[in-house]
Symmetry: C2
Amino acid sequence: MYVCNVNIVEISKILSNQTRVDILKWLKDPEANFPPHQDIDHFDDGVCVGFIQDKTGLSQSTISTYLNSMQNARLVIPTRHGKWTYYKRNDDVIQAYMKSLKEEL
Amino acid sequence: MYVCNVNIVEISKILSNQTRVDILKWLKDPEANFPPHQDIDHFDDGVCVGFIQDKTGLSQSTISTYLNSMQNARLVIPTRHGKWTYYKRNDDVIQAYMKSLKEEL
DNA sequence: AAAACATATCTAAAATTCTAGATATGTAAA
DNA sequence: TTTACATATCTAGAATTTTAGATATGTTTT
């Protein structure tokens, strides 16, 4: 069985920022937290950057930077569809983080 | 039943530093990670600051600052015995953090 | 092919964290 | 009751993170 390895400090760094924690929470239930997308009628690949940016009120470059750091930590997975990039949670890694905390900490 | 409230971002900030994570891990099993204390023959109140400092290799003031921040986040509990201050884990808060992550994140 | 749009990357300033030397405080020992 | 010791606090410079404007890249539309 494959075990997803995570670095507690690396992921804690991501979670040490309220906006980034909020983004992960929102992505748990996109239907409840975001308006419907224009071109597609589902959130199977997550939510587009613009919607996330609107919700946070921060600048486009800041949100893009945040999402990039979250992607580097494998907490989210990006998918490009046309002009848009959609980000969804990577629940495997989120669960693995909690498992590591429980086991190591 | 009393529920211990924790702030995910505040505690993640503590865990975003390898030394502080190490300290929490070491305090899980003081017998295995530290030499015996001079005046007392147990670790019931945790480990004295000097031992923790030696193990990290960082300066006294840095470790004192770290332990203070961890105490502010209620992750550790200090007890003074004579010249020494002992720090032990606050497992209630650590468990509550994990519970909050599981429920909220 | 040009214009418009969504997102990513570059750059840099502001804010925060890290870290340790100097000093203060509290306790025990001489 | 001075001295030594353990830890805490103050101060400040170094390192990192935060944040956004400017610009670049990739895609779609005209």
